[in-house]
Symmetry: C2
Subunit: 313 residues, 2 copies
């Protein structure tokens, strides 16, 4: 099945303690669609400026991404400037220039109004709602992301969107802010009482957790010796996760668990280079190998039924 | 096989945002030996004051713990007063009274000088070295813990101990401080070049990672709805880990991975109540059930060999 993603396209300038990169292709829709493109057909809806580079458009298309919904507007493409400290866990925003993104009004073409899988990346919840309003049939899966800015700035509009998406994918800090609850399990219960049937909590270098009413699945992140730039890791996770689900079109718990690993695999690649450097140059073999590496990283028992020893007195 | 643990015995007074507990039995040797006692025979070497409660001694003995090495000295037992904020990840020490622990000189009885498994809990590295010096034969496994206070205060003595223990078990912040390296994989390589053949990194609510020269194993922590008091979770982890290894007497990588889960299981129980409240009242069935819960939490593929779907263009 195919996926529709609505989100941002940006040029990111990122500094880390040792290196920096100017104007890498970025934005939530970029990372998501590249990651998903290895598994399933993806169409992207977004806006770019007149300065959007031809080679970036070509690169997306060479990954089979349908860029028909990528509108070019007079003005400059969204710019983000950020830096990371030594711990690489939190980006400090130095500058944001919305440019053409400021007036973004997502509009689905007639043929895009019945997507099987829909990802509403982190944009204004009013725009997320506007996308939902254009749907002609309800997708098999609708997943949404958000961020602190909207949690604090548009809580009511966001609550409405959360009431409609089946899957909410946010990071741990956002979950705390959204629910005002520091305990992750309690916070997850709250979210699952507000509409979503699935909550994916992204924990950066500590991995990810998936909650449904009856199931909890947790995976560590892949321990990497080289972490160059974590920008876009969450969107890359979402792209791998949803790409796998769309390709298999199987939303059973067992398959969702594997999708969590595929998301983790793709995110682990993404942080190994600036921007989409690593993500755009992956091979199926590299992806399959790291999936198996994840299995090796976390495997401990075939069945979980091993009887534990007891002390003999 | 049996385990010898050398560490502290304390009375802890702990405040959390909602509740507090006065003078719970605590100390690294207490948490370690209780956790290990469910699997293997444990002997404890430590010091207590005249005020050490009879019922606490009895409780340890009822768990089959050999308290022959628990020396009673004139004065008061070690006291620690601490508090936790909402995130429950870091204890803030409000008061420490070493009392009889200030003059602790661990002395192994003749029959304790050939332990099969030895755990050097977090005490002065000079004392850890003194324990090693009393050994008549080298144990099958020697594991050691330490803390920021010794990393900063006695780096040379600590380096000597680290050069002798086969397994170092420390938390993530301690690993960073010890190696001055923020990347966990690089930091682990450094430690493994300094003596230990195994490094266990404890990450609190994010789980634990085990590094050897050829293997990395990571597990998330069990997501708990009720976290009352994390004091002693790291020592409890070590007790479950080493208790399982001593009981099975199998140091293969596959068994070490299961030991990591048993450690995580025991730590997850420990945080559910103040002091050793939950830990001292466990049943074999509860432990076995949570081991299986861990398997359910992390299982995603029988073999790691599932071919991933590729996009069909």
């Amino acid at each position: 099945m195919s996926i529709l993603v609505v989100g941002s396209i940006a040029y990111d300038s990122v500094s880390t303690p040792n290196r920096m990169a100017q104007e890498s292709l970025g934005g939530s829709a970029t990372f998501f669609s590249l990651a998903a493109s290895y598994f399933a057909p993806v169409s992207v809806v977004g806006v770019v400026g007149e300065d959007f580079r031809k080679e970036d458009l070509r690169m997306l298309q060479e990954h089979g991404i349908d860029t028909g919904g990528l509108i070019r507007r007079p003005g400059r493409t969204f710019r983000w400037v950020g830096e990371y400290g030594h711990d690489m866990n939190e980006a400090h925003t130095l500058d944001t220039q919305l440019n053409v993104f400021a007036d973004f009004q997502p509009k689905l073409a007639a043929e895009a109004r019945q997507p099987a899988y829909l990802f509403l990346a982190n944009i204004d919840p009013d725009l997320q709602q506007a996308v939902i309003g254009q749907l002609q049939s309800w997708p098999r899966m609708v997943a949404g992301d958000t961020m602190n800015f909207w949690i604090q700035g548009k809580p009511d509009a966001l609550a409405k969107v959360i009431g409609e998406v089946g899957t909410l994918m946010i990071n741990e800090g956002e979950l705390r802010l959204l629910t005002r609850e520091t305990n992750m399990v309690k916070a997850a219960r709250l979210v699952l009482s507000q509409g979503p049937t699935m909550l994916v909590v992204k924990r950066g270098e500590y991995g990810a957790v998936c909650f449904t009413q009856d199931d909890v699945f947790a995976t560590p992140a892949y321990p990497l010796e080289t972490v160059v730039d974590p920008t876009g890791a969450g969107d890359t996770f979402a792209g791998g996760f949803m790409g796998y689900l769309a390709a298999t079109n199987d939303l059973s718990i067992g398959n969702v668990r594997r999708a969590m690993i595929v998301g983790s695999v793709m995110a682990s690649f993404n942080v190994e280079d600036f921007g989409p450097g690593r993500l755009q140059a992956l091979t199926t073999t590299a992806i399959q190998d790291r999936y198996r590496d994840f299995w090796r990283l976390t495997y401990f028992d075939g069945t979980g039924d091993r009887p534990l020893p007891r002390r003999k007195d």
